[in-house]
Amino acid sequence: MMTQQDALINYCLRLGDSSLILGQRMAEWCSNGPTLEEDIALTNVSLDLFGQARTMLAYAANLEGKGKTEDDLAYRRSEREYYNTLLSERPNGHFGDTIARNFLHDAFLYHLYTALKNSKDETIAAHAAKSIKEIAYHLRHTGEWVVRLGDGTEESHQKIQQSFDDLWMFTGDLFEMNEVDELLIKAGIAVDLNEVKKNWDSTVNEVLQRATLQRPKDDYMQTGRLQGMHSEYLGHLLTDMQYLQRAYPDATW
């Protein structure tokens, strides 16, 4: 039988891991952005996401009470112990792929955190209220790019439409729920992702329409984050991210 404490730890890992993994993806853009301004923007977003990840992973470590830190959780877990969204681990691809992925994810986090501002867990509520200010900037940034690329040239339109078509099968995973959600929704800590989905739908539809893009049809949805089941890409990402602590355990700055 899962306790509320176990559920809460898992919930914090989900939030923290998604930010951490997406943050790592954005860090991969460092020095590879299409323009200097954009390079700075992408890595700014990375920094925000790492900050958000840190808050949640520190809280999870604290709740666990085993003397671990947020760094232990980030650098010492294997992929099956990660609960990030499948969308967050998708490779960067070209700039349009990154923008499409982040836009879908930003809209998810924006509406999730808007709802979590009222969480009965004080730490999560404070984290949501703080993070929402940052995510609003991210969402505006990616939303504007979606429009610029979708309603841009024939080539940019075709490319970002393909990005959305390719990524769509990972969006169902964002809204999956299990007994963790059930327990925490009852306690007023978590929120019903079906409600978040409604707001996400309307944001996504509004932007795609403005961008003259087609919303892909819901078809087979790849899920797995709740069980820690990931695509082949997460392992590669972690090898890179965790290399130093794995090779030189307890190395410090």
Binding site: I40, N44, L49, Y110, A129, K130, K133, R140
Partner: protein, 167 residues
């Protein structure tokens, strides 16, 4: 030693209030609104701070600087508490701090311009160029040299400049 008998909270506050922001050294942690509270307990001093942005790398420096300053003042046992609520806002910045930013070449946040709509919300209209004072400026990028700044350019003197984002 009972710290409570030796120092008042105001005295401890005054010791650390003037610590400068490592990235914008003309403003202090007090003016920035990062320093929230000082408590003097018999055995230790608890300093409460709040981050400007969750990932702001300056926070670690603020912590180290606070601890060092208090150590230099003879207070050994210091605890730094990080709070996220109420979430930091640029509205906490004093007029004096805004003027200092401007003199330093960073356009201060335009109060009350927090965007209403998240999507396609327009950036503040009247960001004044800190170099020539012109209001004929444009947003180049919402993300600038640090998490808290956006990049603008003046269309009159053509100088690019940082704008302290309003959040």
């Amino acid at each position: 030693m009972n710290l409570k008998e030796k120092y008042t909270e105001q005295e401890v506050w005054d010791m650390i209030a003037q610590i400068p922001d490592p990235e914008i050294p003309v403003i202090t942690i007090e003016e920035l609104g990062v320093l929230r509270k000082v408590e003097v307990l018999p055995e230790k001093v608890v300093v409460t701070i709040t981050p400007t942005y969750t990932g702001c790398p300056a926070m670690k420096m603020f912590e180290d600087d606070i601890i060092k300053t208090l150590h230099d003042n003879g207070i050994e046992n210091v605890e730094i508490k990080m709070v996220y609520t109420p979430a930091w806002t640029t509205d906490w910045m004093s007029e004096a701090a805004m003027q200092k930013l401007k003199d330093y070449g960073i356009a201060p946040p335009v109060k009350g311009t927090q965007d209403k709509g998240v999507l396609f919300g327009s950036a503040p209209k009247e960001v004044q160029c800190p170099q020539c004072g012109s209001k004929n400026t444009e947003l180049k990028s919402q993300f600038g040299s640090t998490a808290c700044k956006a990049l603008y350019q003046c269309k009159d003197c053509l100088e690019p400049f940082d704008y302290f984002k309003c959040i």
